[in-house]
Symmetry: C2
Subunit: 463 residues, 2 copies
């Protein structure tokens, strides 16, 4: 049997066509969302984002709202139709929606046309049919609502796409009862690191809803209430005793809410995008959960305002998507999720062509590299390119083959290479410096392909 | 065969007596060091440490110099004779010497009576005979020069010893040629994480000497030179093609020094003590390399000025020792060492009696807990108490049984317990908070018992 991602395989063309047809069907499934798109854009403009001035008169500024037409849910794909085409240097404001908004429909969906269009799910209709990289409806093999993709004109494999995050804003609740507030959901879920290690042995999933100040005046979040995940019956009649499919509508008539949870605790807010990345070439539909060389679900909270991420372009046009917005996350994302909270980001996309990379820090870049105001953050994974490494069943295999130890090895090698290539050190110099001035941290232990990052301060290397 | 640390074992008494006799012999071996002790203390007083005022008129301030009489090299032991006896609340200034000073005798030993007494090694005499926890001379099974132990009056197993680090100062070079400077050594050693993963496959040990400003006016270190470890012939005629015993005198007539190494690179200085801990009860002589519940070689750079560490007292008197001073280290201590650089610390020791711990963050504490100005840092290990866990060969076994994955599990459990005990959270609250507001980092991957720490900010919990 040949692989679905092998163009020489007889089954490839048929598979590719079937997948593309699935997508086209989905696009047609929810026509009302055009209205939602317009509403979303208008609301954003009224919100008054403090956007930077374009770099030059030729710089264009695009808006990409989030709605059932502009998102793909739970997967990356090289075959997705671009939602937007931009040139290098263009600014793009991209709305992103958390895939856990239906944990509290009243606060995170109601009155928000974009979110309503995405989350629509009745017995007969589903705003977004495919959720995940599995057959038919995606099977929930992948959970993140991703906005995009954005095609970058002229981008080709071998190039590097730089994504500068110029601004990040919380998406305010559209429900007038909660004016000026934003909300997020944290699910201590079955895929969490803690799940098989409860003190009492009684397994459970617990969702905590957090409240934030959408004006930004208060820089901490507080817990509002929590509830144990009940058995959810979805609109099609499917039963979900655990969180096994994204966008399940929680009916709070069936939950018991604890409104006194984490009383007095102030959670520092550091908004960032859990998922941001380009489409990988290796497979047709790729589960959004495991991050890889092309980015995706890195879940590093440093990917916030003021940071840039550099991605190796894997397919023509790059096809950048953004999603999984987080208000706050700790290194490790221990329970499986962050404060999952819709955000709007403004980005500048800069294409670095392959033939201009020699002698720069981007030469030979084969992983997502993060730059903050003060630091270089190099992202290691248990398997740097799991799709290529783990064979035909890579997308299942990765969930059985991850460890922090493997990710540490990868982060070490990447930092060594960076110090040698970008900073011109010898191997021995790089190794000494790594021991005395580079900090290794645990990015996440819940995304299949676990992450370790290596951080080096820029001021170590004076100009 | 019964275990040497089992008092019911017939061999125990004999083993204990023999070990104690070894130590007594060593104490008598270098009488000249009394002079060194006095010189050291006088020099320190002249140095003008900015010491805080004693908390009350009854608070005493002790000085413990570092010399051949006051250090133990490469091991902890419950049987060591205390160098100092203090009461709770007392201040203690403790000199510590790096065990890598002989990498550059001219800069780090010459003219320094304390260091000279410790490093003395001729065909006939050795300032400190025992180096490590092995038979006879210690066999290099443990490498750190530790000053102490300090006995805390009234300390008993079950109590908690709080060590407040009030001040940390670099130990200036005593060689007039290098007035105002301090020096440290970084060895990319055979026990480093990189050692079996060189790009060319050519294994080598490389030592880099770093220069620091002892006045503190410049807060970064620069590399001075590096050299490949040559085969060292020790004064007794032993050959050392690798760094396999501490305090080997490097003869720079046999090295090739690269004076242009890491040109222009500025390494941030964050002085701290790699080793600080109390004597564990589980064995008679314990290799100083693997850290454990009683502290020791934690190698967490946050154990610096302004931090406190809380240790569970394991033996009567606590028996605190301090050593392995570092000028700079990154999280992971990748190549096996930091900038190993002699330091002098001033500490306040506060004893918390077992019967006063209930309902405090210290209740049931069974690991070294770090408090900084802004954070709680909980230290996890691959094996939280490896001496108790890994059987009679624990001290060998630990070097074969470590992983970051194991240490992460331990750090998770410790943070969960802390949040529940010290902060009164439920398990579910603790798990949610850990995912959104606790950062997990890789402390070290080179000390046998590998470390992961969990950091939570204090301001998350307003008073």
């Amino acid at each position: 049997m040949c692989r679905g991602d092998d163009p020489t395989c007889p089954a490839f063309e048929a598979h590719h066509r079937r997948f593309a047809e699935d997508l086209a069907r989905e696009r047609r499934a929810f026509l009302a969302s055009r209205f939602a798109a317009n509403g979303g854009a208008a609301r954003l403009a009224a919100g008054g984002l403090g956007l930077p001035r374009p770099a030059s008169a030729a710089t264009r500024h695009h808006h990409l709202p989030a709605n059932a037409d502009t998102v793909h849910w739970g997967y990356f794909s090289r075959s997705l139709r671009p939602q937007l085409e931009v040139r290098t240097g263009d600014l793009v404001t991209i709305e992103t929606l958390t895939h856990q908004a239906s944990d509290d429909h009243e606060r995170m969906i109601a009155g928000d046309p974009g979110a309503e269009s995405v989350y629509l799910w009745t017995k007969d209709r589903k705003g977004v049919m495919r959720r995940g990289a599995g057959e038919d409806d995606g099977k929930g093999l992948g959970v993140h609502i991703c906005t995009g993709p954005v095609l970058v004109e002229g981008a080709e494999p071998g190039d590097v796409l730089e994504v500068r995050i110029l601004d990040v804003a919380l998406r305010p609740s559209a429900n007038p009862d909660y004016r000026g507030l934003a909300f997020g959901s944290n699910a201590a879920a079955n895929w969490g690191y803690h799940y098989n290690d409860f003190l009492t042995g009684e397994t459970r999933e617990v969702v905590t809803i957090y409240e934030l100040d959408a004006t930004g005046a208060r820089n901490w979040a507080r817990a509002l209430y929590s509830f144990r995940w009940p058995e959810i019956v979805d609109p099609a009649g499917g039963r979900h005793p655990t969180i096994d499919y994204p966008g399940l509508p929680v009916d709070h008539a069936t939950t018991v809410r604890d409104w006194g949870v984490l009383a007095g605790v102030r959670v520092p807010v550091r908004p960032h995008f859990g998922v941001m990345g380009v489409a990988p070439r290796e497979a047709e539909a790729v589960n959004s959960v495991p991050p890889s060389y092309s980015g995706g679900n890195i879940d590093n909270w440093r990917i916030g305002k003021g940071a840039s991420v550099y991605y190796p372009v894997s397919v023509a046009g790059a096809l950048l998507s953004v999603g999984d917005p987080h208000a706050s996350q700790g290194d490790s994302e221990l329970c499986g999720t962050a404060i999952e909270c819709s955000l709007t980001g403004t980005f500048q996309l800069v294409l670095h062509k392959a033939n201009a990379l020699e002698g720069t820090p981007l030469e030979g870049l084969d992983f997502p590299m993060i730059e903050t105001a003060d630091e270089w953050v190099l992202q290691g994974f248990s398997h740097p390119n799991y799709l290529a490494e783990l064979g035909p069943d890579a997308q299942a295999e990765i969930f059985r083959r991850s460890s922090i130890d493997l990710a540490m090895r990868d982060a070490f090698r990447k930092m060594r290479r960076f110090l040698m290539t970008a900073k011109g050190l010898t191997e021995d110099e790089a190794i000494s410096l790594m021991s005395i001035a580079v900090d290794f941290g645990i990015t996440q232990v819940v995304d299949g392909n676990w992450g370790v990052h290596a951080i080096v301060r820029k001021d170590i290397f004076p100009a």
